[in-house]
């Protein structure tokens, strides 16, 4: 494979700067000792990180986001396992349509989903509740859970199951001892990808959440709408750090490329 020339590498450096700059600037500004936004800062201070503790709304919103992500991703995985097995193993009328339906939250604008959920939840009396948030998040993260469970269900050696059956395993034993353990890595990474997407979702959630049920991104968004100060940058810096740790862990365990492109470290 030929190497990149200096022109290509210069372009690459500029491109990476473009991608990293806005994230880096948030982190740098978060360490300002001043009472206003200052960049570049001369001294570093943790002042604004301590300040987060005085604003419980960000902390409760953070824990709400964590719970919401964990619960809705787990339920989404629960729904996607049987569906993935059906899609991967059977040829049936409506199989393509079913896949398209379950993947549709990726194509429907989140603002439209947010409006639809707001109207629907208000109508059935769960508007602005945590239950409503969970239902809405199950739907928007299900495609991510489904994609990874599907990948592991397709790349599955069926002869192992046939061997188990020929050795007298019952249907229950088969599922419990063979099928589930083999697709477990796919489920775990599907859950993780679903969690990250739930944790970051703002467009749809801003419609569904009420003042008492705001998630962290929604709280941050509404705060920024009023004013931008160092406090919201330190909160953002924490969110970035949290996501980067999750991302690196996920890359290490599963491979980011396989997660996003659909092919893995092993195949490379």
């Amino acid at each position: 494979m030929s190497r990149n020339g200096w022109l290509a590498l210069t372009y690459h450096a500029l491109f990476v700067t473009f991608m990293v700059a806005p994230i880096a600037v948030v982190i740098v500004v978060a360490f300002t000792p001043e009472g206003y936004l200052s960049f570049p800062t001369e001294r570093l201070s943790l002042r604004w990180f301590y300040a987060i503790a005085e604003y419980p709304e960000f902390i409760t919103a953070f824990w709400r986001s964590v719970w919401l992500g964990a619960v809705s991703s787990a339920i989404a995985v629960g729904f996607s396992v049987p569906a993935a097995l059906a899609i991967a193993r059977y040829q049936f009328a409506g199989r393509e349509a079913l896949t398209a339906l379950l993947m549709s939250p990726l194509m429907i604008p989140h603002v439209v989903l947010g409006i639809a959920f707001l109207r629907f939840f208000t109508q059935i009396g769960i508007g602005g509740t945590f239950v409503g948030l969970v239902l809405a998040h199950i739907v928007i993260v299900l495609p991510f859970a489904l994609r990874l469970t599907l990948a592991s269900a397709i790349g599955f050696d069926r002869s192992i199951e046939q061997a188990a059956v020929s050795l007298g395993a019952t249907e229950t034993t088969l599922v419990r001892r063979i099928t589930l353990p083999l697709i477990l890595p796919g489920l775990a990474s599907g859950w993780a990808l679903a969690f990250i997407n739930s944790f970051d979702e703002v467009t749809m959630t801003v419609f569904v959440a009420a003042p008492g049920t705001e998630t962290l991104p929604v709280r941050m968004f509404l705060y920024i709408q009023d004013n931008i100060d160092p406090l919201v940058t330190s909160v953002s810096a924490c969110v970035v750090a949290f996501t980067v740790v999750a991302l690196v862990a996920l890359d290490w365990i599963y491979g980011l490329e396989r997660l996003l492109v659909g092919r893995g470290k092993e195949e490379r």
Partner: protein, 298 residues
């Protein structure tokens, strides 16, 4: 992004014809119950009447649609949404495709590291990333203006905050990973031996790029463009923060109608129109690409 899943229909295909339906029933019911029905309700909502004091009246009228259709304010807003989406799509294709190619030619540790650096932002909160741009733009004396002026690219500061330019730059950054990802996926299917063969037959680097690489990654660029366009046209947080309260796009206008003005039927009409326009554009361009390249896009 409808997945064309390779079927691995096993021996139980004929045996249990009911099984796949039973297995997929829970997910199917969930989606009918809380996706399909709410969207139909939203479309119906757009035909309802609304008044400052009487609230929503469940009648069937075309008032909201007539307003969206005839009011110049809505024309301007939809035109702006479309303009921003097109600019973001073109920019991300022009900048992202070369980067994916460069990335693909890198050696082992760097390739993985930079792939993580470029795709990673996809999973970082869009609010945090947009906040970064708001900090970088920050008025006329912002960092971006200082950098551009010291490089001699511009002579005076350009306003970025509360302008379309600013929204376009920030959105291009937010959606860029999708383009790189899509082109990267296309590049993975490309056989490097073909490039080597062309080089050994005396083709110049430029010829190889133009005659070998470009035709093969074009489907990847196009599928990336469709994704970026759809997401740019319906983006919310970035135009809301960078564009401010006055520079409205379809999604921020719908948000305003729903949560500030409380004219839900009008907001529903804007959202329905956005949904229909996007479906027509996405399905149409998918068809076009499919016919031209004879393959289904992810």
């Amino acid at each position: 992004m409808s997945a064309a899943v390779p079927s691995r229909a096993g021996p139980d295909e004929g045996r249990a014809s009911l099984a796949p339906y039973l297995l997929s029933l829970p997910a199917f019911l969930l989606f009918v119950g809380i996706v399909f029905i709410p969207i139909v309700m939203t479309v119906l909502l757009s035909f309802h009447d609304w008044g400052q004091y009487k609230g929503i009246e469940p009648v069937f009228i075309l008032k909201n649609w007539r307003e969206v259709w005839s009011d110049g304010y809505f024309h301007e807003m939809f035109a702006r949404t479309f303009r921003i989406a097109v600019a973001v799509t073109l920019l991300s294709a022009a900048l992202g495709a070369p980067e994916a190619y460069i990335l693909n030619r890198m050696r082992s540790p760097w390739r993985g590291i930079f792939l993580l650096v470029i795709l990673g932002p996809l999973l970082i909160s869009v609010v945090a990333r947009t906040l970064g741009w708001a900090l970088l733009f920050g008025g006329n004396s912002g960092v971006v203006n200082k950098a551009l002026m010291s490089l001699g690219v511009i002579s005076g500061p350009i306003p970025f905050m509360f302008t379309e330019t600013g929204v376009i730059v920030a959105l291009t950054h937010v959606l860029m990973p999708y383009m790189v990802l899509s082109v990267w996926a296309a590049l993975q299917r490309l056989d490097p031996q073909v490039e080597n063969a062309a080089a050994s037959l005396g083709a110049s680097q430029l010829t190889i790029l133009r005659r070998i690489v470009l035709p093969q990654v074009t489907p990847g660029v196009l599928s990336g463009a469709i994704i970026v366009f759809a997401l740019a046209a319906s983006a919310f947080a970035t135009p809301a923060i960078i564009g401010g309260r006055r520079l409205k796009v379809a999604s921020t206008l719908a948000y305003d109608e729903f949560l500030n003005t409380l004219n839900w039927p009008l907001g529903a009409a804007v959202a329905t129109l956005l949904l229909i326009a996007l479906i027509v554009i996405i399905v149409g361009s998918n068809r076009l690409v499919e016919r031209r390249y004879g393959e289904k896009l992810r």
